[in-house]
């Protein structure tokens, strides 16, 4: 699905007309290409204290030109606001006003990343006010930025520091083109995960040396619903990052599934994930061919929209069966199997409908909110065990499904986001690839929205 308006306003004359009329002017987003530099221009690190200093040093180690203040006439690729020591709302003014100056000179596709501590980890009202205040300010900055620039935050949970591998992994994600359509979002990172987390040392090394082009090399990933749309793009993206992909979809979608598998050099597995033996067949296939299952992406999902007043049992049941019941059943079997890696990753597709609800989607929202509930509860059971489970909640993504929305509604839905456009399947896939990587070893039980900070589901 192409966004003709976006293409149009990115040509000279229509662009000027749109500006003169005050119409939305969405930018072509900066998306990831393997080997891209972390920052082509200098990066501002604002904020004071040891945490800020240490982070600035890490960036220098990544061969990034670091500025501690905005220099006149100089463009910036990104601004990193380190507020890990904020103790009262008064502490915010300095770094945030500096950020305001940086926003004026941010390049198109620039990045703002705030690093601060979680308000949930303090009982001091002033400290909590400061921390929660940063959340509000960054969300607002995200709405103010133009030119495809985004603002996001890394929330340090108790014990985490500004230079933990997981903090740096999240920072790399937000600075890179991988997070193109992630805007106004906050990722919580725990401190150094418990002992025995294989791959964390590698992750730290990888972060230090610059992320390799194939962060998922040697991993085996199962992607459900991989025959088309977002699922096919997830398969491609994980394969690009080095993973061996097992593409799963219902037998009826086998023709497209085979094409996806052949495109990514993976294998096609035709199964109905609602079948009781679905997980067993996945484990048998992966165990037999590759030995270990490292990554599971629960992407398969269906919609059967009706107002609840007109809903019948078959519509309701089908959505619940595919979108959440199958995941619960399969996860249970994966987690009980020796084939599933001790550092295994599960990433589930939620939806902004599951966060904010959506008219005509009570069944779908129940299933997707259910995914969020499942992820949080399961994550608690993983705590420190080396495995992680997270959800990605896409907003308006340009797919065959959203192409069926009436044209005017579709145009409005696109422009309601801070980036004034719909996302692409690859934007969802990049978030999933990040959560599957070692860089996200300390991200667990999170729901990462890939929605361009859409007003819907806010």
């Amino acid at each position: 699905m192409t966004d003709n308006y976006l293409d149009l306003v990115n040509t000279p004359l229509p662009g000027k007309i749109a500006k003169a009329l005050g119409l939305p002017r969405p930018s072509v987003l900066r998306r990831y290409t393997p080997g891209e530099p972390i920052a082509a221009k200098p990066v501002l690190v604002t904020g004071s204290g040891a945490g800020a200093e240490a982070l600035a040093d890490v960036l220098l180690g990544w061969d990034v030109e670091v500025r501690r203040h905005v220099l006149p006439g100089e463009k910036l690729s990104a601004a990193v606001v380190v507020l890990d020591r904020a103790a009262s709302p008064e502490d915010l003014a300095g770094p945030l006003l500096e950020l305001g100056q940086a926003a004026r000179v941010l390049v198109p596709g620039g990045r703002v990343v705030a690093v601060f501590r979680s308000a949930a980890d303090t009982t001091d009202p002033a400290v909590a006010a400061a921390r929660q205040g940063i959340d509000g300010a960054i969300r607002s900055v995200a709405r103010e930025l133009r030119g495809g620039a985004t603002a996001n935050g890394i929330v340090l949970r108790a014990g985490a520091t500004t230079t933990d591998a997981t903090t740096l992994g999240a920072l790399r994600f937000f600075l890179s083109g991988r997070s193109a359509y992630v805007d106004g979002q906050f990722l919580e990172v725990s401190g150094t995960p418990a002992e025995g987390v294989a791959g964390l040392a590698a992750a730290t090394a990888a972060v230090g040396e610059g992320v390799p082009d194939q962060p998922l090399a040697g991993r085996t990933a199962v992607v459900t619903g991989a025959a088309r749309g977002i699922g096919a793009k997830i398969a491609e993206t994980l394969a690009r990052d080095g993973a061996r992909v097992v593409a799963v979809d219902v037998p009826a979608a086998g023709e497209q599934l085979a094409q996806v598998a052949n495109r990514v050099g993976g294998t096609a597995l035709q199964i109905d994930i609602t079948a009781p033996d679905a997980a067993a067949r996945i484990l048998e296939h992966v165990g037999g061919r590759y030995g270990t299952l490292d990554i599971v992406v629960h992407n398969a999902g269906i919609t059967r929209d009706k107002l609840l007043a007109n809903m019948d049992a078959s519509r309701w049941d089908a959505v619940i069966a595919v979108n959440i019941a199958s995941q619960l059943r399969m996860n249970e079997q994966f987690l009980a199997s020796p084939v599933f890696s001790t550092t295994g990753r599960i990433i589930s597709l939620a939806s902004t409908s599951g966060i904010a609800g959506n008219r005509g989607q009570s069944n779908y929202a129940a299933s997707k909110a259910g995914v969020i509930g499942m992820v949080r509860a399961q994550a608690a059971s993983f705590d420190g065990a080396g495995r992680t489970i997270n959800a990605v909640a896409p907003g308006f993504i340009e797919t065959d499904m959203t192409a069926k929305i009436p044209p005017l509604t579709r145009q409005v839905a696109r422009r309601l986001s801070s980036l004034q456009q719909g996302g692409l399947p690859v934007d969802v896939a990049e978030a999933i690839a990040f959560l599957a990587s070692d860089a996200a070893a300390g991200v667990n039980g999170q729901v990462l929205r890939v929605c361009g900070q859409n007003l819907v589901g806010a």
Binding site: R244, G254, E255, A258, G265, G266, T267, D272
Partner: protein
């Protein structure tokens, strides 16, 4: 196992060739979902589905062998062209093979022999046929005129060549299933055999009914989920009538053998329809399967081909497997009792039933096959347990690949030994033994 049989004339022990898996596209009725698909399109689809199932992208396979019965002259190198159009390495060699309806099975036999000899480690065997996209040739008269014309140098010679053209020469030659030496269609030939063995209409309809119900049940339990890849919107064999009944089959009018003295018994229900489709099978040595972590569904033990003199009427056109069977069993020191599954290709229900009757007939087995008595009878409960050609359809060269992959999977699930019998035009037939791992 052949090399454990103890028979003095057992084959020389060699390496083992195994069936790793298979893939086919659902079979379509002629003029249906694949009406505008060529043999090349369909075989690429079947091959790419296999590549996707086993992750063979970019791999150099030892050899790919396949064929088509109805083949355009431009497709002289069909299989190699298909390999080039597939996700396999372009360095994969390929050859075409043609043995009428036994084409598919014979490619399995040929490649498994190469594997056993150590000439190749892996192979893909298969076949394809389109009755929809069949070649249509110009008449023999027109062809001669055109060739003479191309050789003519002067205007006078050209006029002379054209002058020999007759209006009847302008009608094209469509392919038929008629035997060149008898002019009879395959159905009319089988009608002779069916009548000779006094096979009843009821018995034929019963076999057809079981074919449909067995195939439908196989679909219901997901048997084909790793044997088939949908194509052009078709997800199941179009010919399958899951809801058919003996009563419905009994209402169909006979289509073959109407000119015989015996009552005509062969209908569209108990004869295979013209079908489009493709099937392939991945074969390998045990070493190949192990080193690539691939499954081993079954061992390809042995095979035997036979041909009969149908032109004089000495034997029925499709009875060659009846002759091949005792030779294969003797060589391997086996009897029907030693088998758990039988896959007898259902060209017509009458073909299967005539074969069974022949093997049970002591007089025939002594007189014609030179045996001491009846070869034996086959437990119907072990016959075509996942359906066969009457239900699935029969794209000629694709049938062998369908049968081998389905039987190999059945053996991997249930264990035991399986016997395949495929009849072919020209009075030929091939039989083969597969064994569970």
């Amino acid at each position: 196992m052949a090399d454990q049989a103890g028979a003095s004339n057992a084959p020389i022990p060699a390496r083992t060739a195994v069936v790793i898996g298979g893939n086919r596209i659902p079979f379509a009725r002629s003029g249906g979902a694949y009406a505008y698909s060529s043999n090349k399109d369909m075989l690429i689809a079947a091959l790419d589905g296999l590549v996707a199932r086993f992750g063979l992208q970019g791999e150099r396979i030892g050899e790919v062998a396949a064929g088509a019965v109805l083949k355009h002259s431009r497709d002289f190198n069909l299989t190699r062209e298909v390999v080039l159009g597939s996700a396999l390495s372009p360095e994969t060699p390929a050859y075409d093979l043609q043995q009428a309806c036994a084409t598919g099975l014979e490619t399995v036999v040929g490649l498994s022999n190469k594997i056993k000899l150590g000439q190749i480690e892996s192979g893909i065997a298969g076949g394809v046929d389109s009755a929809s996209d069949a070649p249509i040739a110009v008449s023999e008269g027109l062809r001669r005129v055109l060739l003479d014309l191309s050789r003519a140098r002067t205007t006078q010679q050209k006029i002379k060549a054209l002058a020999t053209l007759r209006p009847k020469d302008l009608s094209p030659n469509a392919p038929t299933t008629g035997e060149p030496r008898t002019g009879l269609s395959m159905g009319e030939h089988q009608a002779l055999t069916t009548a000779a063995w006094e096979i009843t209409r009821e018995a034929q309809d019963e076999l057809a009914y079981r074919s449909h119900s067995n195939l439908a049940a196989a679909y219901d339990r997901g048997f084909f989920s790793d044997l088939m890849t949908p194509y052009r919107g078709l997800t199941k064999d179009a010919n399958l009538r899951a809801d058919t009944s003996l009563e419905k089959l009994a209402t169909l009018k006979p289509v073959f053998g109407k000119g015989l003295d015996a009552p005509a018994t062969m209908t569209a229900g108990n004869s295979t329809p013209l079908t489009d489709g493709a099937a392939v099978v991945l074969l390998g040595s045990e070493e190949y399967a192990r080193s690539n972590n691939l499954p081993m569904l079954a061992t390809i033990v042995d095979a035997e081909a036979a041909a009969v003199d149908f032109v004089t009427g000495e034997e029925g056109l499709l009875m060659a497997p009846v002759h091949a069977m005792p030779r294969l069993l003797q060589r391997n020191g086996l009897t029907f009792e030693d088998f758990d599954f039988f896959e007898i290709h259902e060209a017509f229900a009458g073909t299967v039933l005539s074969s069974l009757a022949a093997w049970e007939d002591a007089d025939y087995c002594k007189r014609v096959l030179g045996l001491d008595g009846a070869l034996g009878s086959i437990d119907r409960a072990k016959l075509n347990v996942n359906g066969s050609s009457l239900a699935a359809g029969h794209p000629f060269a694709a049938t062998g690949g369908r049968i081998v992959a389905s039987l190999a999977k059945t053996l991997s699930e249930k264990g035991g030994r399986g016997l395949i019998s495929v009849c072919a035009a020209g009075g030929q037939g091939v039989v083969a033994i597969l064994e569970a791992r």
